[in-house]
Symmetry: C2
């Protein structure tokens, strides 16, 4: 079971869009996939049309040990892909859990409980909020891999050192398995000199870790959430669908090398 | 003195770009402007090329009462515009200040102290992080006005109700003067049906509050931070410069009505 956190404290870079569509590409490739919404804005849950009421099982209730990991999973319209939605209370969770014992590993503990009778899925993807607070730390403590979702613009390079520092810290203190195994360039427009330059710098700073596949700007990707659909359901012939299919294949191909 | 918080918990919508360039447009219009960086990613400080070392005065040191508001101000290359940069410690401030007495009004207290001998500027703009935690709450407690910076895409509409709820809560509990006086449509591409639809919905939900001026997609706006410059210094003839000049004029015109 691969557990992958989609992280970047920079906002609006494509984390949620990637979690949904990479997840769907892996499910279409025959894998059993679970997506976990750890963003108080619940964009992942919204994208798949399943926001829950405040009493229902959710990632908030899993973190606060009010329900088990398994109870909080719902099916999506993509075969083989399930979702753990979040609810409105997650926005208070960071302050609420600040003093809890083992606050950084609440999610990992819930997953270990869920897996004690065998591995219930092949891929577990965590959609993180645009910050490096307790929710992202919980995802990094639970995950084996971190994928950095990066927009090819100026601020992208600036935030990277802080992000890698935090990943190293989590690896040292809480999760020795954690590795940053991939950088996904998103919202890429190869007509722009700035985008090409930033992509070039990313490839030189992080040789071997930047996916060859870039996710290009494609309005179909921005439209699909308003229909509660993945790109494969909304616009299967679009460049967005092709890009995420290629990314899915690249992620699967990593298994061969491991 | 107008104190305006540029807020939206959704990431990557143009908050920092608007703080810098609206600030510069107001300064070019003859106003004395101060920009405050309240985002741990320090994008505002980076955009203006003035990130500070961890011992220097900063918004972090102002919030933790280690220096006064005035001591933390630096000049920028735009006449009449000063900046309060932030430093790397701000990312820990939310947890660090969680238990502090009056934690929500630390910024307001520092500003009141700064203004006791008269108003040192005409416009105070607060650049907020992509969350509704303590740093954004401090900005909303200090500000008289909130400008919602909104990208015209699906998720923009979803997050608005939560944002307006938090603004109402701050108004009720901490800051009765606070009003949401403007919505700024950013990253607008009028060729896209989705963008036109979302803009139309925003104008019908919030009649009178959405600025007539939209800030269009313009790569010059994304390039200017890599040179540490405002759009007026980097590409004064660009559509980005024209849009922010028009926005500045619309903001100034509000004073006549008030
Ligand atoms: N490749 C793309 N082409 C066009 N639009 C895109 C693409 N990827 C994402 N978007 C749109 O850009 C916006 C930001 O994407 P998304 O919400 O996935 O980013 P995020 O990193 O999850 O944001 P946040 O930091 O707020 O969680 C959304 O409106 C989304 O629909
Ligand atoms: N009108 C525009 N046209 C083109 N690019 C833009 C425009 N406005 C902002 N950008 C670019 O889009 C990205 C996001 O903008 P910005 O960083 O200002 O958003 P933000 O809301 O401050 O993000 P965060 O939530 O991370 O603080 C940046 O790379 C910026 O350069
Ligand atoms: Mg997201
Ligand atoms: Mg910003």
């Amino acid at each position: 079971m691969r557990q992958i956190a989609l992280v970047n404290q920079k906002g609006g870079v494509g984390k949620t869009t990637t979690t949904v569509n990479l997840g769907a590409a892996l499910a279409l490739g025959g894998k059993r996939v679970v997506l976990v919404d750890l963003d108080p804005q619940a964009n992942l849950s919204l994208h798949l049309g399943s926001v829950v009421g405040s009493g229902a099982p959710s990632s908030y209730r899993v973190l606060t040990a009010q329900c088990s990991f398994a109870e909080a999973l719902v099916d999506t319209s993509t075969d083989g892909m399930r979702l753990m939605p979040t609810d409105i209370h997650l926005s208070g969770a960071e302050l609420e859990l600040a003093a809890a014992l083992g606050r950084e590993t609440l999610l990992r503990d819930a997953i270990e409980e869920w897996c004690k009778d065998g591995e219930p899925c092949d891929y577990l993807l965590f959609d993180c909020p645009p910050s490096l607070g307790l929710l992202s730390i919980n995802a990094l403590s639970a995950a084996d891999e971190a994928f950095l979702v990066v927009q090819t613009e100026f601020f992208a390079l600036q935030g990277m050192s802080k992000l890698l520092e935090v990943i190293e810290l989590v690896k040292k203190r809480m999760n020795p398995r954690l590795e940053c195994t991939g950088l996904i360039p998103c919202l890429y427009d190869n007509r722009l000199r700035l985008a090409r330059e930033v992509l070039g710098e990313l490839r030189s700073y992080f040789p071997d870790r930047v996916f060859a596949t870039t996710i290009g700007q494609n309005v179909k990707l921005a439209e699909s959430p308003s229909f509660g659909k993945t790109i494969f359901e909304y616009a299967p012939q679009s460049s967005g669908a092709r890009d995420y299919t290629a990314l899915g294949q690249a992620v699967l191909a990593m298994e061969e090398i491991a």
